[in-house]
Symmetry: C2
Subunit: 360 residues, 2 copies
């Protein structure tokens, strides 16, 4: 077996130690004689797995007691629908900040439910920056304010939590959750698809302030109904048990690494060295405004795009995988989530320098 360095944007690299543990206990979970995939979600062994995963996530993120934590299905895209359905009693406007592809998808789903107010947009600047807070046009009647702290495709990230007064702030943290400490109490709702920093695709974590569960709402499909799921410990219907278990192993691994302070330190160092290398080169370029550059997703373009093909081919041969940029923007993208070690970033930079030397 030979593992490569995996820069996939998601589904993405997972900690090798966690994969090994899941492998080793796959046929017999803790002496039960069955796989964790084969057991009832309501039985004691799985309930313990589920509760520990939640407790560890609460510990990692410092989630206050007045927040519910849900483990659901449907990805962030499911939550794009769930948010307006759970938070908007009918007819009220909803505030959205538009910073790229994922904001756009969230807006599209919200528009199916009610009127959306675009508070600010960086579309005119090619989504390469964050709109200045002073330019935002919040609607005083909005049910909530939604934003995308990290745009996986554009590689644009908010490094501060925006102040939106007393409106519930709703954040799609799919590609930045667990990359650093955050103050959960500043948010109404935090949600994230698992397949970047949490675990395998198919689990969605939703952290919601409990008072928001009591909002008046219309008819909501059971699988998207936060209150119903919270009242049933995320088990109104059968949860994605293997993914929930695996997420729990990742949370344990993060605690063993030293928690989110430590991950932030490593993640910032990884990102800084990669951006510094790119900025010092005339061969590679990152299009994002420096203050808005993502720690997790680093897009870069080659000055000569006829070299894209050779770059990807040679990178693959060097054991550096999944560097192709999203089909909507082209170029390259290195996603350097928690499970991508600093060693992988070093190997990437070394390869990029060597490639430049041979082709510049």
């Amino acid at each position: 077996m030979s593992r490569i360095w995996n820069f996939s944007a998601g589904p993405a690299a997972l900690p090798q130690a966690v994969l090994e543990r899941a492998r080793d206990e796959m046929l017999d979970f803790h002496g039960t004689g069955m796989s964790v995939m084969e057991m009832s979600h309501r039985g004691k062994p799985f309930m313990e797995v589920a509760e520990k995963a939640e407790a560890d996530l609460r510990k990692l993120m410092g989630i206050p007691d007045d927040y519910a934590v849900l483990f659901l299905q449907g990805g962030a895209t499911g939550q794009f629908s769930a948010i307006p359905m759970n938070l908007q009693p009918g007819g009220q406007p909803m505030d959205y900040i538009d910073t790229g592809a994922w904001s756009g998808k969230a807006i599209k789903e919200a528009q199916k439910v009610g009127p959306v107010n675009i508070v600010a947009s960086s579309q005119a600047e090619g989504y390469a920056s964050i709109p200045e807070r002073s330019t935002w046009k919040l609607d005083p009647n909005a049910a909530y304010v939604h934003y995308t702290p990290n745009e996986t495709i554009g590689g644009v990230e908010f490094h501060e939590v925006p102040d939106v007064g007393d409106k519930p702030l709703v954040a799609d943290m799919s590609s930045t959750i667990l990359s650093r400490p955050i103050d959960v109490s500043k948010f109404g709702v935090i949600y994230a698809g698992a397949q970047k920093n949490i675990g395998p695709a198919g689990v969605t974590v939703v952290i919601v302030r409990k008072d928001l569960l009591e909002r008046e709402k219309g008819q909501v499909p059971a699988v998207l109904d936060w209150k119903l799921q919270a009242d049933n410990d995320s088990m109104y219907n059968t949860p994605p048990t293997f993914g929930w278990y695996f997420a729990g192993l990742v949370f344990e691994w993060l605690l063993e690494q030293g928690g989110l302070e430590k991950m932030a330190e490593i993640n910032q160092r990884k990102a800084d060295k990669l951006y510094r290398f790119i900025d010092n080169s005339a061969f590679y370029r990152n299009p994002v405004e420096p203050s808005a550059r993502s720690w997790m997703n680093v897009p870069f373009i080659l000055a000569d795009d006829s070299l894209d093909g050779p770059f990807l081919k040679e990178a693959d041969a060097a054991g550096l995988s999944s560097l192709k940029g999203h089909r909507s923007v082209g170029g390259m993208r290195a996603s350097i989530y928690n499970a991508v070690p600093e060693e992988a970033v070093d190997a990437l930079i070394e390869f990029m320098a060597d490639f430049e030397e041979r082709h510049a």
Copy 2:
């Protein structure tokens, strides 16, 4: 490692050979240097996994070309909402047959969307039988007819596909899919949560006749929109890749076993011998009308319910796990899906006979 016999109703036993294969390739899928969980769903290796899983399912079930096959999230409960949202343009009645707990949940979700007509119900008989087809009151204006071919909790199964004329027949096959051959062309929609006969919880298979994708409909959340998902090969959003892959391994295993004709033969033999043993005993009893007994879920009650505790405890000690009946009905239930071998049923019968001898 010591594996037990697992009679869980779901998540349920999986084929040991499949678990072993998933374990063995967990850290390095086919020489890619990464887990199948860590790769982009849009990359070539996963696309091949996804396509092969669909092709094998089509082969196993004989799914005609004019049916789409979707691999979604949200379980059958998600589809309880998706069905009325995708099939009912607004205001039209929807026909539902009520044969137990799962029919009831499907009806509840449909009622959020529009008017439901209960065509027939076995509630008055304690859901221990199937309402005679001649008593059904179909609505001539109904958008479709929904039924639950196998009720996992009650252990009641339709052994014939009901004739509902030219209305689309919609079937929740969660706990009976792949247990025997069926004529897919008799259905408008077949759907199933994976966690009984397909794979791990978190994948939902939807087989839908393509003309039904073109029905006029209202606003549907993207994750529940069949047409959107069909147009995007079930990848409008990130699919549950590990579950999809695992389902594919189960389909391969079923083809290796000889396909659904062979599984039907084994499943019928397993069920027949267990029911025969129960019927010949005054100590155990199955409450279901013989012609409606499920091949997959066999509930049984002990004449003396003070022995329930000892029965479960001794069964567990004998390596027979998860026999407790659903909390809503009590007693015992043996779920004997495809992955539960005949040997397990023999061991169960032997234990039951021995327990009876010692306690009768």
